[in-house]
Symmetry: C2
Subunit: 174 residues, 2 copies
DNA sequence: TCTAATCTTGACGTAAACGTCAGAGTTAGA
DNA sequence: TCTAACTCTGACGTTTACGTCAAGATTAGA
């Protein structure tokens, strides 16, 4: 409950321009992502996360980008039910995208840029396909449930009507 | 490859009215559901499946309803990423629904019927909520990807425009 | 009746995805 | 400088969700 002695705001200026970026130790990273420290280390070990920077004492320093990545992995896993193997594929895709981006910025050749852009587009499309397949299957299941609910609602109306028309259906023998 | 000696069409007439229902041994059940025999037995062991009927020699006989159930479990698991524990909850819900249905048919009391209907509706609603939560989160992710794709498309237009305006951007030194 | 294909119930093995120590080092405030 | 809070890397344990093998019983056709 007591505030950690290791400052939560790790004083590191990453950008040379003086744009200070916040870094987080693994404890706060865990809190902010909803994952455990063990899980975060495990994900790094699996290569789902590019190894974060370190202090000179070898403490991991997570950037906000790292946290975003971790949160995304969490969503892919718990929400969408992807296995870590599948997630690695997706994440590797992201990595390739990043590389494409830097090469993109590096080249002045417009034609080359176009080609890189096409690559990135294809990659994103394939990721999109993955998601859409799941979404549509889920919609299917949802539709079934909605239909069931509708049947109940109709039945309910019928019954309410019956109650008004013949309030004492149980005692018809009277 | 050779046709099994144990007939694939198990000759059992379930309904007394002569409406013959097909039953399947576990081998064909596995083929038809895409699950393995081991998995099917495991699901039964976990109580995800009401124990199927048996031959007098204790071979499992799966009805088409059983197969549907198994397929649903497969979808819930692999598509939506539910754990078997979660699936059990959902499936237990289905079971309760079934019981409600029979009690529903048994009673002539309209008020009682209304109450049962309300119960069933609530159950379905909670299942629906589960699904919808997942769907909406997936939509969110999808939206992100679509946005990215859009950015690429725009960038692409720009670049194509540039190619027309100044075709040899690389060789500006000429 | 014999037999090949199929089924049965254990029982043990395994991969994935972490949980949980242990022992040692690091950090920053008092 | 001392110390509480935090982190590090192994290393082993655990749960889930099955795979796999064994030994024996069942089934239906020849």
């Amino acid at each position: 409950m007591v505030a950690p002695h290791v400052g939560d705001k790790v004083g590191l200026e990453a950008k040379s321009e003086g744009v200070s970026e916040r870094y987080f130790l693994i404890g706060e990273a865990a809190e902010r992502t909803g994952l455990t420290q063990r899980t975060i280390r495990y994900y790094e070990e699996l290569g789902l996360l590019s190894p974060p920077s370190r202090t000179q004492g070898d403490f991991r320093l997570f950037s906000e980008g790292d946290l975003d990545r971790l949160k995304e992995i969490g969503r892919l896993k718990h929400l969408l039910g992807f296995s870590l193997a599948e997630i690695r594929k997706i994440v590797e895709g992201e990595e390739v995208l990043g590389q494409l981006r830097s090469e993109y910025r590096a080249t002045g050749d417009t034609a080359r840029r176009l080609a890189l852009l096409d690559n990135a587009t294809k990659l994103t499309d394939s990721q999109l396909e993955l998601i859409e397949a799941k979404v549509s299957q889920m919609e299917e299941l949802r539709t079934e449930l909605v239909a069931r609910r509708l049947r109940y609602a109709e039945k309910r109306k019928e019954l309410e009507q019956a109650l008004v028309t013949a309030p004492n259906q149980t005692e018809t023998t009277t």
